[in-house]
Each structure stands twice: as C-alpha cells, then as structure tokens.
C-alpha cells in the first residue's frame, strides 16, 4: 500500500505504521471526506422541527421587544 503525505513531503515508514496501528479506519482525515447518506425526516419529526423553529422566531421577537422597551 502506498502512502503519501498531503503536503508532498515523504512520510517516514514508522509514521505509516503508527497511523495504521493506532487509528481506526474512519478516523483518517481522508475517510472523513466520505459523505453520510441522507435520511428523510418523518412527518412527526418535521412537525416538531417546524414548531421549534416558529417558537424560536417568536421568542426572538419577544426578546427584541423587551430589549427595546428596556432601553426606552
């Protein structure tokens, strides 16, 4: 198996050995570039997420109102 350092500098063989013996395959920086498959949200989950989104927006308006009334 060939190994190369991303920067282009040659890797020491002991580094390769160390990496392969100490890290799990999914811990390699290169492996983390693999995409995770999308999961579609259920209707009930979407409902909760939208409820919380509306809750947050409403409460932000309340905080802005409170800040405005506090400074006036």
């Amino acid at each position: 198996m060939n190994a190369e350092e991303k920067r282009g500098a040659p890797l020491h063989p002991s580094d390769e050995e160390l990496v392969l013996s100490s890290l799990e395959p999914d811990q390699l920086a290169e492996a983390k570039k693999q995409r995770i498959p999308r999961r579609s949200l259920r209707k009930s989950e979407l409902l909760v997420l939208w409820f919380l989104r509306v809750y947050l927006l409403f409460m932000i308006v309340v905080v802005v109102y409170q800040a405005w009334s506090g400074t006036h």
Partner: protein, 455 residues
C-alpha cells in the same frame, strides 16, 4: 449496523499530518489501556479527559459568571443554589449525547446535521449557531475588558492581550498541547471558591437552601430573566458543536465513551462549584442591600472590595478575565469547527497553518471583529450580556431536537444509540427549556400576571 464499518480508502492511502499527530495521541491511549492496572486506569483518564471539562468550564464564561454574580447580589443564598446544580445536571444529560455522537461517527455536529438532514435544516442550525456564538464572543471580550479594567488596564490593551493569548494557544498546531494549555487556564475558574470563602458564608443557610430550595424568589420578570440567564449560563448550542468536534479532534472512539462521560461529569462538577461559589461570593451585596442591577464584572469586584478586601476583589476580577478568555478560545473554535465541517475544509487543531488557513482564519477573524465591537464607545454592554444568555436558552430546544434525532439514529450510532433513560431525560430538558422560555415570554407580554404574585 455502523455505516463506517466498511469504510476504507481505496487505491492510494492518504495519510496527513493531522493523522500522524492524532495517531501519536492514540498510541499513548492504547498503551495505557493494554496495561490494565490501577495506575494505567488513572493515566487513561488523564489522557482522555479534556473536551468535557473544557466545555463546562468554557461555559462558565463572562456572561455566565456575571449572571451568577447578579443572582447572588439580587437573591442571596436560597432557591438558586440547588437550581444551578439542576442546570448542570441538564448540561451533563445533553453533553453526554455529543460524546457518543462524536465517538461513533467521527464527525462534527454541523457536518452530521447537514449530511443527514440536508442543507435546509443545516443552514438553520448554522445561522442559530453563528449569531449566538458571535454575540457571546462579544460578551467574552466585555468580561475581559471589564476584568482587566479593574487593574487599570485600558480597553485596547485588554483586548489586545486577549487576542495575543488566543494566538499563542492556537499556534501550537497540536490538539493535545492546545487542550492542556487551555485546561490549565480554565482551572483558574476555581478562583471564585477562595473568593466565596473570604466572605465567610453562612453554611447553615447554604445547607438549608440545598435541602429545601428556600427561600423562593418573587415570581416576576426580573426573576425570570435571572432564571433564564442562569440556564443560559449552563446549556447553550455552542457547547454541543464544540464538544462533539473536540471529541473527534482528540480521536476518541466508542471504547472511550465511558471516559468521555466521566470527563463531562467532572467538568460539570468543577463548573458547578465555581458557579455556586460566585453566587455565595456576591451574597454580601444582597445582605447589605446594595443594588447590583446594572453592574459589570469590574463593578462587582469594586463593590466587594470593602467586604472581602483587595485580594478577594482582585481575584474576582481575575476570575472574570479567565472566564472570558477560555470561552473566547472555545467559542471561536466551535464556530471554526462548524465552518470547516460545512465548507468541507480541513478543521483540526492538529493542522499546520498552511493546511488549516481557513480554519485558523475563522477563529481569528471572529475574535478580532468581536474585540473591535467591544471598543465602540457608548455600547450598552450590560444589556448585550443579559440578552445573550436569554437567546442561548431560546435557541437550545431546536438544537436539542437535532441532537436527539442524531443520537437515536441506529444506523449512525450502532451500539451507542441513546437508551430510553437518556431519551426521557433529554425530553425533560427540552420541555423544561421551552417552559422557561414561554414563562419569560408571558412575563414580557403580560407582566401584570407575574407582578401580583405573592412573595
């Protein structure tokens, strides 16, 4: 089944500088684990602690310590002591999930939301995080400026010193070194304990407060603001993103989850001790009927000086500086990790500057911008601090919903999927946060409903 079990790089194996640094750290963990005696168990704990303690002590930041100081000065010893402990229990419940997620997926929180649920929900989370983090970062510089102001340091010199320390901590280019330096600085958060002891607390009242949650405060808008500020001082969205990313950057795996839990609980215990000490430290202001409504960090220290002396007041001000400094580092990093994950750029503290230009640039640009804002004359700094904690509480339920969904995703989590007890506790935390937010909203819209409540 774990999605990553069969993941292997095909053809040429690419090993980066980041991998080599992480492998060195992991080799020490594996060596300690292989021995199996008591000393090795302690060594393993020493090697694996970090993200949990940092996130908890990091959240004992400028606005948080100010919220605790205001709590003590306004309400003294009573209901808020056990209440603060409860908020830290909530923090453990929430943060434990991020340890499992990071260890199981080796991905950061932002990346998981984007990839698993798509960019629509991903951007919502990022906007919440970005706005919250930036506002909080401003408040950290407010704390640093105010704390150093106590010693006569001009504001420009205070923010410059903070930026220099941030630069020094990050330029180690090594997660392990950065973590240990930041842990050492974060330990200074415990300086509030000797300050509390200098006030000669009434331990009988402290014991009574924990046993009975009494005396109860009057239910009005000011009390609810403090309730929300104290919750926001303990559970906030940036903590989720930071601890998960730090867990991955440290290289923790499924086998390390139990140590991650200990790390989180230990961090919560230390942070709770500092928080309670701050409330106790400012209680003399309550007993001497000194109004601390619009106090900043340095003003608390000045007000305490006649009661606890110069050394105590100086320690209090230094504690505020530390609180702002550590959070400045952790919050900037939380934003930079999230940016790197979403923009698919390298994001690790093991990166040399050349490979991690974007990552390090985000950390510094955000910090410099926040520092400049703090230097604007006439800015209502106290108000910014209070509003930031409230916004953090309000933004938490939507963030927790994603965390809940991810931690229950069997395909991602495999054997570390959330057990029922964790789900029950997490649901209780979400309901509690929503209830607190709604109560605050009602107190703003219809203050008369609370003003008439008996004491």
């Amino acid at each position: 089944m774990n999605l990553f079990a069969n993941l292997k790089t095909r053809g040429t194996l690419v090993i980066t500088h980041e991998d080599i640094d992480r492998a060195h750290d992991r080799a020490r963990v594996l060596a300690a684990r292989s021995r199996g005696n008591w000393f090795s168990r302690f060594r393993l704990l020493w090697l694996l602690i970090g993200p949990g303690i940092l996130v908890m002590l990091g959240e004992n930041d400028g606005p948080s310590m100010l919220a605790y100081a205001a709590t003590g000065a306004k309400f003294g010893i009573g209901f808020f002591l056990p209440f603060i402990v409860l908020t830290f229990v909530m923090a453990i419940v929430v943060q434990e999930m991020t340890v499992r997620l990071g260890a199981a997926t080796q991905r950061g929180h932002a990346e998981l939301i984007f990839e698993r649920f798509g960019p629509f929900w991903g951007w919502f989370s990022m906007i919440d995080l970005g706005i919250g983090n930036f506002l909080t970062l401003i408040t950290e510089f407010i704390a640093i400026r105010a704390g150093l102001g106590f010693f006569g340091v001009p504001p420009w010199a205070a923010v410059l010193a903070a930026l220099a320390l941030l630069y020094t901590a990050l330029m180690t280019h090594r997660y392990w070194t950065w973590e240990r330096i930041t842990l050492a600085i974060a330990a200074f958060n415990l300086v509030f304990i000797p300050v509390a002891l200098l006030t000669h607390p009434d331990w009988h009242s402290v014991g009574h407060a924990f046993a009975s949650w009494q005396p109860l405060p009057r239910m009005d808008q000011d009390t609810l603001l403090i309730v929300l500020a104290d919750i926001g001082a303990t559970v906030t969205p940036w903590m989720l993103f930071f601890q998960q990313s730090a867990t991955v950057d440290k290289g923790m795996t499924r086998r390390d989850v139990s140590f991650g839990r200990v790390d989180t609980a230990l961090g919560a215990a230390l942070a709770a001790a500092a928080a309670l000490a701050t409330v106790i430290a400012t209680t003399p202001l309550f007993t001497h009927h000194m109004s601390a409504e619009h106090f900043q960090a340095a003003e608390f220290a000045q007000a305490l000086r006649p009661l606890i002396g110069n050394i105590g007041a100086s320690l209090f001000a230094l504690g505020m500086v530390e609180a702002g400094m550590v959070a400045c580092v952790t919050i900037s990093l939380s934003s930079a990790y999230a940016f790197g994950e979403v923009a698919a750029r390298p994001h690790s503290l093991n990166l040399p500057v050349r490979q991690g230009k974007a990552f390090y640039s985000v950390v510094f640009l955000l910090a410099v911008l926040a520092a400049l804002i703090v230097l604007i004359p006439g800015l209502p700094l106290v108000y910014v601090v209070l509003v930031v904690n409230v916004i953090a509480v309000l933004a938490m339920p939507p963030a927790l919903a994603f965390l809940f969904l991810l931690a229950n995703d069997r395909e991602l989590m495999g054997d570390v999927v959330s057990p029922t007890w964790a789900n029950v506790l997490a649901a209780a935390v979400v309901l509690f946060l929503i209830a607190a937010g709604v109560m605050f909203g009602i107190s703003v819209i219809a203050p008369h409903l609370f003003a008439a409540a008996p004491r």
